[in-house]
């Protein structure tokens, strides 16, 4: 009862809001007309206002109707960057300040985003749709009261019936309104995919950059380290060759030197290999590699690892180096004594928590190390969550999906509940009204056959035969249509769920 009252209150509030949209609608229409006439300055504030209104609608439908709706907008353009000479370029014009180029970029961003136009479409229709859907019960109650007022034996029961029907219909109408809002304001599959492509593009650039930097580092280390030492060793051995006969004593000293150089070169190569791909990781996998890391750490580190199958080598490596960085941070900045590392697999995702008893206050925005960890993980759709209140303790959590992205069969989630039944019925029985009872009966009717067989429509009295045939055809089409719509809505929802986090939209 109380819940119903709350629902009615929400419906009325949303309805009232929809009616006040008339004001915003008028404003936006005027601004649009002015913009079309060349006064483009009105366009952006108007879109800003509309976006605020639609964000409010998304929030309310999310909170009140349980229809969570993500904002569909493209990410805003980055601030313009000056040229080497300090000027800002926009197309073929140069500007002294970034104001104009920034304005142009924002204008283009808003104007080309399909979400802008879907927002406007929603706004312009909302007073009509929202008003009629949500205030319909109010009208029904009004009508019912009017009927009651007449106090005739016929009007009183029908008045009561109308009022009850109006009140009972509110939750349904509210849900309908929620669907409509979702339809207009939710991201389309296209915008979700566009967001994902953009994000992957950015990731690719970052990964390529960091890979190139890594290769440069390795090249430098080899060039200045092992390679230089091998050259020195070769020279020493050459000298030994010359001295061998003349001064065997000196040759011996030089040989000892050469051996030492080879030892140092090997040590350097070992360190380098450790930085590229730790041997224990290759030999034993993530769990033991982290245990080995824990043994080498000056902190008291407790490792629990339960991995089952070994993850792919690049994933292992990324997670290993991330943990290594977190451990270093705990020792260097956090002042920790004890660290607990837990590695496990849950719901097809690798989860690592690194907890220390240090002083806390770690902030990824400041530490370049943590930024590196985030970048490393992002290449595998992994995320780093850091909880580090001042005073500690610090808990870092790494979440990384293990199912390699391309494998669609593993991602397939079957339909459940009534949807499953409806789809099965649609595909399984749709042919029955459509073909025999509909189209075949129709052809019999057209060609005037006397055969009636089991075609129900032909047993009806004459004037009802055609409507029945048409009804059967429509019923069959509707059954197929519903089955298709439910399936596609389901896969669309899965798509959004999967790509959603990668969109990186935060209002």
């Amino acid at each position: 009862m109380r819940r119903h009252a709350v629902t009615i209150g929400r419906a009325l509030a949303l309805g009232a809001l929809a009616l006040t949209d008339v004001l915003l609608l008028t404003t936006s229409l005027v601004a649009a007309v002015l913009a079309a006439l060349g006064l483009v300055f009105f366009f952006m504030p108007m879109i800003g206002l509309v976006r605020r209104r639609t964000m409010l609608a998304r929030r309310l439908t999310g909170a009140w109707l349980g229809v969570a709706t993500e904002p569909p907008y493209l990410p805003p353009p980055p601030p313009p960057r000056p040229q080497p000479d300090g000027w800002y370029r926009h197309e073929r014009q140069l500007y002294r300040t970034p104001r104009w180029p920034a304005w142009h970029d924002r204008w283009k961003w808003m104007f080309t985003d399909p979400a802008t136009w879907r927002d406007l479409a929603w706004l312009w229709l909302n007073p009509l749709v929202g008003g009629s859907l949500l205030l319909l019960p109010l009208a029904a109650v009004w009508c019912g009261l009017d009927l009651l007022w007449r106090q005739t034996p016929l009007t009183v029961p029908s008045g009561v019936a109308v009022i009850v029907a109006g009140v009972a219909a509110v939750p349904w109408l509210l849900r309908l309104y929620g669907w409509w809002t979702h339809l207009c304001l939710a991201p389309t599959a296209r915008s979700v995919l566009a967001g994902r492509v953009r994000r992957l593009d950015q990731l690719r650039t970052e990964t390529a950059d960091s890979q190139a930097a890594e290769l440069r580092r390795i090249e430098r280390d080899l060039h200045d380290g092992a390679q230089a030492r091998l050259v020195a060793m070769g020279m020493t051995l050459g000298a030994v060759e010359e001295l061998m006969d003349k001064d065997p004593g000196a040759a011996k000293v030089l040989l000892a030197k050469a051996r030492e150089a080879s030892s140092v070169a090997l040590t350097e190569l070992r360190d380098l290999v450790r930085g590229i791909h730790p041997p224990v990781l290759a030999e034993r996998g993530l769990g033991d590699a982290v245990r080995a890391m824990a043994l080498d750490s000056p902190l008291k580190v407790t490792v629990t690892a339960d991995l089952g199958k070994r993850p792919a080598a690049p994933v292992e490596s990324a997670v290993y180096f991330s943990i290594s960085e977190l451990l270093t941070n705990a020792a260097r900045h956090g002042g920790a004594d004890r660290v607990w590392i837990d590695i496990g697999v849950r719901d097809g995702a690798l989860r690592v928590t690194v907890t220390d008893d240090g002083s806390g206050g770690a902030d990824p925005a400041r530490g370049s190390g943590l930024r590196g960890v985030e970048r490393r993980l992002a290449a595998f759709d992994g995320v780093l969550a850091l909880n580090s209140p001042p005073g500690g303790p610090t808990t870092a959590t790494i979440d990384l999906p293990l199912a390699g992205g391309g494998d669609a069969s593993e991602d397939k989630v079957p339909l459940r509940g009534w949807r499953r039944v409806a789809v099965a019925l649609g595909w399984g029985l749709g042919w029955l009204p459509l073909f025999p009872q509909g189209l075949v009966a129709m052809s019999f009717k057209i060609f005037g056959s006397d055969e009636r067989s089991w075609f129900l429509a032909l047993y009806l009295p004459g004037p009802l035969q055609w409507p029945m045939i048409v009804f059967n055809v429509l019923l069959g089409l509707a059954m197929y249509g519903a089955a298709m719509a439910i399936t596609s809505a389901h896969s669309h929802r899965r798509l959004i769920e999967r790509a959603g986090p990668a969109l990186g939209l935060d209002g």
Binding site: L266, E283, A292, L295, D296
Partner: protein, 220 residues
Amino acid sequence: MSPRIVIAEDLHLLREGLVHLLQAHGFEVVAAVETGPELLRALVGERPDVAVVDVRLPPTFTDEGLQAALAARREVPGLPVLVLSQHVEQLYARELLADGSGGIGYLLKDRVFNSGQFVDAVRRVADGGTAMDPEVIAKLLASNARHEPLGALTPREREVLSLMAEGRSNAAISQRLYLSESAVGKHTASIFGKLGLSPSDDDNRRVLAVLAYLDAARES
């Protein structure tokens, strides 16, 4: 009688080098194998006096050699094995020492360059002693750096402790540090006192006690 030895190393040049080196120092090489399964068969079948084993072997090129050595020691307890590797890990050292029966060596491959010391280490292991790589010991000590009793050791005592943990006898330590054997004896007694370990005359037991102590210290 010359000690019988099994060698497992997948790089042909290094394997031949090891065979020549050890034959020159009076070992009888009964098998020189390439892969993990071959090694296990040789160890269990030949029961050599000592084995020199590379950690990484075919067919998987992971820790095949180490696993074969551990499996063989489960079958033949105390079978002396000297493990060689391009890198040393405390984790592996701990696994090798876990059964506490000695006859274990764990060295970097680079140590082969110094043939005198390397052959000495092989002999030590063959006699049931221990040969730990200085790098393992350094890591073990470094990760225990914050530990209280270790901090109380003098620098000289730390030096003695490192050499002792590598598996060297008092005589060898005294040679290495240019000290008299009695001075080394005094240092070891002082170390055992500070760490609260009961002193032992048996070199090998002493080493295992020290390694177990260092390993346990970081856990507490």
